[in-house]
Amino acid sequence: MEKIGEGLSCSSKLEVTGELVYITTIEDVIDLFDKATSKICLVDDAGITTLGPILSDLAATICTTGGPGSHLAIISREFGLPCIMGAKMHTNDLSSLNNRKVKITHDGEDKGFLYLVD
């Protein structure tokens, strides 16, 4: 497995594997609406206003900015979803990760990691 990012693990410490979807607009959310189940969503500054409607279907969220006080992290905790905030990604081309199979793991404290598994 190749590590592709890490940040602050702000919610559930579940290890999850799923298909990654990079979301930037509300149109992306509309496209994903009926097929969001078990997806792992990656966002940069698109927050809870964008992801909110599909959040409860997702397996996890990763965000390249923010912290545990972001609304995205607060609502992820309410749904018990793993949520990595302030993630430092190893690639700048985040859309190249679309549809790749990824895994989220956590250390014993507050770090969360993202791995490519396919």
Partner: protein, 324 residues
């Protein structure tokens, strides 16, 4: 007054003032420093719709089922409808009167924030957090009235309509036309630093610790994840700094000095590398956290802002995710 009331004189009432305003009313009564303001109650939205006779049009729009592909179109239709009509004269007159009473002693150049306060925001199964919008940096009554209409229109944003479809999947049927929204108008704080204080550590569920996210400028940069903020863990029982992680804070959100709304600017390099809170401020926030946790008898999630050494509480709500 039928539609507006000074936050200082109001009695909490979720149906009439929404969850957020009711909470602010409680904080003010307890003596917590909250920016001055007033609330436009949920009856005003009803009057806006009924006086302009647009309820049948709204009803028509929602008379048949809608699907995800329809939400952008529905939302823009309703927005167009709202922006094409005026608030009833009697409500505008009340807003003008209450505004001049509540803000009589403020300096002339101050601006205002218009915040939504919906009747459903605090319901666990219908957590709409972050969906309802706030509009910052309103300069005058005309700006405030436009932002009130924007707040009401946000009930029908594409996201809000998708949210209702999501609830429907789980057999929670709420029609958009049943939603009620009050609107808070407050003096806008222009903070040097702001953030979120959790009176428990929400990452590891340690109730003997507090957790703070802070950054320079307006706190919307943190809640809306526009920056990586500083993270500070405090010992709750006896004030002490347990851990500090300096966030990048590359950007800084401020009121646009040349216009309305806000702008994101580059943070000075030295400020990026410096913790946004000093020990004295951390001690003050620790005190605020202890106070509010005792008052509400439960660990709190508090949004705060520091302007010229005064800490303002912008919101306090229970932390909903602590393990027993």
């Amino acid at each position: 007054m039928e539609y507006t009331v000074n936050l200082k004189e109001a009695k909490e009432d979720i149906q009439l003032f929404g969850g957020k305003a009711s909470n602010l009313i409680k904080l003010i009564k307890y003596g917590i420093k909250v920016p001055p303001g007033f609330v436009l109650n949920t009856k005003s939205f009803k009057a806006f719709v009924e006086d302009n006779q647009i309820q049948s049009e709204i009803k028509g729009i929602f008379s048949k089922e809608y699907y995800p592909k329809d939400v952008i179109d529905i939302s823009s239709k309703i927005k167009k409808l709202f922006f094409g009509i005026n608030l009833p004269e009697r409500i505008i007159n009340e807003i003008i009167r209450t505004h001049s009473q509540v803000f009589a002693n403020l300096e002339r150049k101050c601006t205002y924030v218009v915040r939504s306060s919906a009747n459903y925001e605090d319901l666990r199964e219908f957590s709409f957090a972050g969906q309802a919008q706030s509009f910052l940096n309103n300069h005058n009554i005309d700006d405030i009235i436009l932002s009130i209409k924007k707040c009401w229109a946000s009930l029908f944003s594409p996201q809000a309509l998708l949210y209702l479809l999501q609830l429907k999947k789980r057999e929670i049927n709420i029609s958009p036309k049943d939603l009620k929204m009050a609107v808070i108008v407050q003096k806008m704080i222009n903070p040097q630093v702001s953030g979120v204080l959790f009176t428990a550590n929400v990452i590891n569920n340690n109730k003997n610790q507090m957790m703070i996210n802070s950054s320079w400028g307006l706190g919307e940069a943190i809640t809306g994840n526009l920056v990586i903020p500083d993270l500070i863990i405090l010992n709750k029982i006896k004030f002490d700094i347990v851990k500090t992680v300096i966030g990048k804070k590359e950007k800084l959100l401020i009121a646009d000095p040349n216009g309305k709304s806000t702008i994101l600017i580059e943070t000075e390099k030295t400020l990026q590398e410096q913790c946004s809170l000093n020990r004295t401020q951390l001690k003050q926030l620790h005190n605020l956290g202890i106070n509010l946790e005792i008052f509400f008898d439960y660990p709190q999630d508090i949004e705060w802002a520091i302007e010229n050494n005064t800490i303002y509480t912008l919101q306090s709500r229970p932390i909903t995710t602590l393990a027993n």
